[in-house]
Amino acid sequence: MNIPDGLYFTKEHEWVKIEGATATAGITDYAQHALGDVTFVELPKKGQGVKQFQLMATIESVKAASDIYAPVSGMIAEANDTLNADPGLVNQDCYAKGWIAKINLADPQETKNLLDPAAYKAYVEGL
């Protein structure tokens, strides 16, 4: 199970990387493994507002469709359009090429509602 340092996590298995005022978000290795082959991602739209832990995107695999929640509140700055043609990037490289969206961070304090790598690792191991 790959849980990189320097990221925050949610209990719904999203990750987020905070760089200044921009937050990059995706789904974790645990999530991509549980979903299996990803076949479609309904991406959020640029300029769309999202709220922490509210619906941000939908992801489909051969097995099922699942919701992706925003790990932080803010406005969508960019969505990863390469996933339209190649949604399998979420399986191959979930923490880099398989990112879902970049969010203009509304409130940096929200990271206190998230898990650090050690806490997420403990959470996943307890599932």
């Binding site: 299996g36 082959d37 076949t39 479609f40 939908t58 097995k63």
Partner: protein, 343 residues
């Protein structure tokens, strides 16, 4: 792995898409030991077997298989199955795993008392070998079965042990189903995988492959509330003979069915799903019974029932629920054409 009908089932090995593609391009083996097998002895007409199954059995040549259903008196499908004629009065019947006990009771209730009937599901193992290269593999493990024609079988040695091999399957590719005593299965599985051309495929890939062909899955696409008329399975019903459920089907044929099987192709990579609604002009007009992503067509596919509506090919529809709407079109089966099935 996932629990199903008391078995711990392999859903996937390498990944559903990779396994699906490998089956259509090379050859895969599937562990199908959960399915049920009954042995039965008797003349089909005098022992009551003919009346139990929708397909005509009395004209089956020895060594052939036939697909059909068993129905209740209302014409609802109790199970779909394959009948193997091992001799003039010697039969094997292969049924679904979740329905073994129900089917057994139904057979025993309707066979003439004293008919020899045995449920050998527990001691019989089954491995499916499916894909365009499957004949090359069969040559190495059961050489006498290599030249079997479609829907025929042979009781023959498999790796030197007595078994049964049929040229049947659930993937739409050239393929074989191998029946052996359960204890022989691990050695066969290992031997198959020793060949670098063969990869294991799970039930996830099996579901995608059968759906790409438009094959029904019992319990999901057909059930006791569904008749073969609605389910597009009428060609496996012989109205020239007597069978349980015939009166109900004949009546339905006269009065018309209230829903009809349709095949759907999404205009995107989004997948129709079991229990999605089918919308025509924004109105709910039916239900999806199975749906998935087709790696061969690169789009979502599915099958379902359309209520009271002419199921015109090419009709634009939507499938989905309160949150999701997927544009799709009514099409024909099979979704994937020109396979190795009858090669």
């Amino acid at each position: 792995m996932a629990p199903f009908a008391g078995w711990n089932m392999p859903i996937q090995y390498e990944g559903i898409i990779a396994e699906t593609l490998h089956t259509r391009s090379a050859v895969s083996c599937f562990d199908i030991c959960h399915m049920g097998e009954f042995l039965l002895k008797g003349d089909p007409q005098t022992c009551g077997l003919e009346r139990l199954v929708t397909a005509r059995l009395c004209d089956m040549p020895t060594g052939s298989c036939r697909y059909g259903s068993i129905l209740n008196e209302k014409g609802g499908v109790l199970d779909d199955l394959i009948v193997y004629r091992k001799g003039p009065a010697d039969w094997m019947i292969v049924v679904n795993a979740a329905t073994i006990e129900k089917d057994k009771k139904h057979f025993q209730a309707h066979l003439k008392p004293g008919t020899e009937f045995r449920d050998v599901s527990a001691e019989t193992g089954k491995i499916d070998l499916q894909g365009p290269l499957s004949r090359d593999i069969i040559k190495t493990i059961a050489p006498k079965a290599a030249n079997l024609g479609y829907y025929t079988f042979l009781e023959t040695e498999v790796l030197g042990r007595p078994g049964l091999v049929s040229r049947t399957g659930y993937t739409g590719e050239l393929g074989y189903e191998l029946y052996l005593p359960s204890q022989e299965i691990p050695a066969l599985w290992k031997k198959l995988l020793d060949d670098p051309r063969v990869k294991p495929a799970g039930l996830g890939a099996r579901d995608v492959l059968r759906l790409e062909m438009g094959y029904s899955l019992y319990g999901q696409d057909i059930d006791e509330e569904t008749t073969p008329l609605e389910a597009g399975l009428e060609k496996f019903v012989d109205f020239k003979k007597d069978f349980i459920g015939r009166d109900a089907l004949t009546f339905k044929k006269k009065t018309g069915v209230s829903r009809r099987r349709v095949y759907l192709r999404a205009l995107s990579r989004r997948s129709p799903r079991h229990e999605h609604h089918i919308f025509i002009d924004g109105e709910k007009k039916g239900l999806v019974t199975s749906g998935t992503f087709s790696p061969h067509l690169n789009c979502g596919i599915g099958m379902g029932f359309l209520d009271n509506a002419p199921a015109a090919r090419g009709l634009d529809i939507c499938v989905g629920d309160d949150k999701i709407k997927i544009e799709a079109v009514i099409t024909d089966k099979p979704f994937v054409k020109h396979t190795s099935l009858k090669r």
